[in-house]
Symmetry: C2
Subunit: 125 residues, 2 copies
Amino acid sequence: MARLCKDGFEREFIEEQREVYGIAYTQNILSGRWKYIILWFLKPSERRYSEIKAFLGNISQGSLTKQLRELEAEGLIHRQVYPEVPPRVEYSLTSKGKELLPIIDLMEEYGKKFGEQVELSNEQA
Amino acid sequence: MARLCKDGFEREFIEEQREVYGIAYTQNILSGRWKYIILWFLKPSERRYSEIKAFLGNISQGSLTKQLRELEAEGLIHRQVYPEVPPRVEYSLTSKGKELLPIIDLMEEYGKKFGEQVELSNEQA
DNA sequence: CGGTATCCTCGACGATACTG
DNA sequence: CAGTATCGTCGAGGATACCG
């Protein structure tokens, strides 16, 4: 079977290993280089496309659009288009997206705790 | 700057966006298709190489070895070699690895909550 | 401003063969 | 049993150009 597999996850083993299914699912909807950070960036408030792009800095327009579309398709963010000239588009977290924030917060906390050490110990590498 | 970037994360923006650094770090050490699940599988007890391979099923030996080596290099798992014939190698979580379990548990919980729905609603797709 | 469309690179991963 | 070595594929993501 193995649906929901945009990013190369066929995962037939899901059939037998039901317990692991949840992890695989969550990993799948957050696959990609920028999704965690986009969600984190949307935490305080909705953001315009250009704000997100400026924050991420070195992301290409194509990639950003793709990641946003995928997040929208998974129901994690809402895309609000204001029919103005020039156009304005604002992205915000849905409730399903907000429920990911505890995970992202934990990851931030974990990285702050262990990442700094790596940075120091790599100083010479 | 931008060290710790095995998987294509240059991330100059880390310099300005310190807050995001933790997320990027954690995402980096868990990059790869199998790492979450390997860690999850090591939760109850240490496991032999062949046990892990059997559980994951459709992973190639090369990939599994690579993922395990990366996890070991990041200090998330411990590799215990028993000099026997035939050889026996057991992998176990380190304390740094165990501290990731809350994150993985949350992901499992999240996926169980939302993933099942997708599976049902995709039944026709 | 907020996208599309197209091309290209590059690295993760699988397949296969071989080994101490 | 637990790897190593080599090769090939495949797709994510960047670069660039253009559009309503």
